[in-house]
């Protein structure tokens, strides 16, 4: 079954605007993580939110988690052209594996 489905699949915004990406999942999790991937490169960890947390901040990033709705959102505020990348949520299942969603491709236009 699919886990960690992101929405939207693609997002194009102007520099300075905020970008919001959503992620839904199906099973119980230990935590949920967001990763960034520049084209053709490896994944870089952005932020981890545990199942007992509701919101977490890291610089311009804000992540929320609603375990009752099995959903999470990633907000990037005051976006920059350098934020252009693909963003993936990954659910940390109780078995210990990370399952990634399809990702959201974000383009920030200067």
């Amino acid at each position: 079954s699919q886990q960690g489905e992101e929405d939207p699949q693609a997002l194009s915004i102007q520099e300075g605007e905020n970008a919001t990406m959503n992620c839904s999942y199906k099973t119980s999790i230990n935590n949920l993580q967001w990763y960034r991937q520049n084209s053709g490169r490896g994944l870089v960890h952005l932020i981890l939110i545990r199942s007992n947390e509701r919101e977490k901040h890291s610089g311009r990033l804000r992540v929320t988690l609603d375990t009752s709705k099995k959903s999470s959102s990633l907000l990037i505020t005051a976006s920059r052209a350098a934020d252009t990348a693909s963003y993936f949520c990954a659910t940390d299942e109780k078995t210990g594996k990370l399952i990634f969603g399809q990702g959201t491709t974000l383009q920030v236009k200067p």
Binding site: Y35, G42, H45, F88, D92, G96, K97, L98, I99, Q102
Partner: protein, 112 residues
């Protein structure tokens, strides 16, 4: 900052040949993973490895795949008889207990 190192960065191989992808995990990490990403698609889980054995594997990880940690440091993924559809980026990831995963830069495998 500690990092996961993968070699080679790019491997071109003939269909039917065996390939071995190598990963040097971050020391003291407990969990090791291989993922693959076909061009333009999502990152797919292949296998997780803990305490020197496979803890979980996906349906993609069939009999042509194997993993091992031969010398207690390197973590390898072997594909015995490559197919065209094995062409993808292969990522190694490692993590501690209940922490984020650190990914290597990946190996781009091209099967011709």
């Amino acid at each position: 900052e500690p990092e996961v190192t993968q070699t080679p960065s790019h491997q071109v191989t003939q269909m039917g040949q065996e390939v071995i992808l190598r990963c040097v995990p971050i020391s003291n990490h407990l969990y090791f993973y291989w993922y693959r990403q076909i061009l333009g698609q999502k990152v797919e889980f292949l296998v997780s490895f803990y305490n020197n054995e496979i803890s979980e594997k996906s349906e993609i990880f069939d009999d042509q795949f194997s993993v091992e940690r031969p010398d207690g440091s390197n973590f390898t993924l072997k594909i015995r008889s490559t197919k065209l559809e094995d062409s993808a980026m292969y990522f190694c990831a490692t993590r501690g207990m209940n922490t984020e995963a650190f990914f290597g830069q990946g190996t781009r495998l091209t099967v011709v």
